[in-house]
Symmetry: C2
Subunit: 160 residues, 2 copies
DNA sequence: GTGCGCATGTAAGAGGTTACATGATTAA
DNA sequence: TTAATCATGTAACCTCTTACATGCGCAC
């Protein structure tokens, strides 16, 4: 919908700005592209390049736009989520407090690094829909950092 | 780890306080319980009840605790996420602005309802690890609401 | 008397990831 | 020379959801 793209391009786009919404691997991406092409939702144009593999540029057809529009009108499915870190924290019931603290502090550092990465990535963005998605990722990231700090402060650190 | 439970109990627990971390369906839950039992990580005790189906109470064994502890020590896998709403918002490129606004406003109402539900659910909780998970869900929820309000304010509403 | 809560489970299928295969160019 | 980027694709596998099957008690 955004613009004609190859499978490779789509994966890059999804793994960068759309990372907060979903992820894509070639194992799903290419077969899906083939299927949508067979259904008439996409058209292809092969582009030969020098010094590089040729690429297949996919473009959405009018039928594709109609079906996308139909899909957009239907209510979105509930978010599907698996946060292994949260699960581990919950299950860490007989772990010594300082191990739990290490777990949480480590997660905070990772999340802070991700926040920085997202902020620098947001700089290059002008498209408003892309900016919205980035803002979403940023605010969720920031909320998690605040929560992690609060959790850290609540872990009882015993003096030996 | 928390306490001995039946599969039915685990599902309720996961679907309430652990909803922000993962979800469970019987189709995965029961076979997994059988597998862990066969591996020696769990023990069972069947409890007959009057007027109700008998239940199987599973209890973690020492071996189970050792394996859980091993798993806890390994770094958590990255969060896996599928947010269909975010995807739809991103793809809603040729939708009229007022339709986009309706989409976003509707999502905000849903999220506000979820926040209220989470808040009332948090009242009954005394276990600190449960409280942490609930706090996580609450702050992410609140962050999303703030973001949705910001997005709403950025949608250009044309006067007819 | 209808539906919900309790409580167990299975089978089919949908959906996804990982690992593999190929191969040229370019930057460290 | 080693690794990353570009670019396509398949096959095996794992995992999870959905739908079904069963059946009692209780509240509306």
């Amino acid at each position: 919908m955004e613009c004609p793209m190859s499978g490779y391009d789509i994966k890059k786009r999804v793994n960068s700005v759309l990372g907060a919404a979903t992820q894509a691997s070639y194992g799903t991406l290419y077969p899906t592209l083939h299927k949508l092409l067979a259904e008439g939702c996409l058209s292809v144009q092969e582009v030969l390049q020098q010094g590089r593999p040729s690429k297949k540029i996919y473009r959405i057809t009018d039928q594709g736009k109609r079906e996308l529009s139909n899909w957009l009108k239907q209510p979105a499915a509930a978010d599907q989520i698996r946060r292994e870190f949260l699960l581990k924290l919950y299950l860490a019931r007989n772990l010594p407090a300082h191990d739990v603290l290490a777990l949480v502090a480590n997660r905070r550092e990772e999340t802070e690094a991700m926040l920085t990465a997202l902020q620098s990535e947001k700089n290059g963005i002008t498209d408003p829909k892309q900016a919205w998605v980035m803002d979403y990722a940023l605010s969720v990231c920031q909320a998690e950092i605040n929560w992690l700090k609060k959790v850290e402060s609540q872990i009882p650190v015993a003096e030996v």
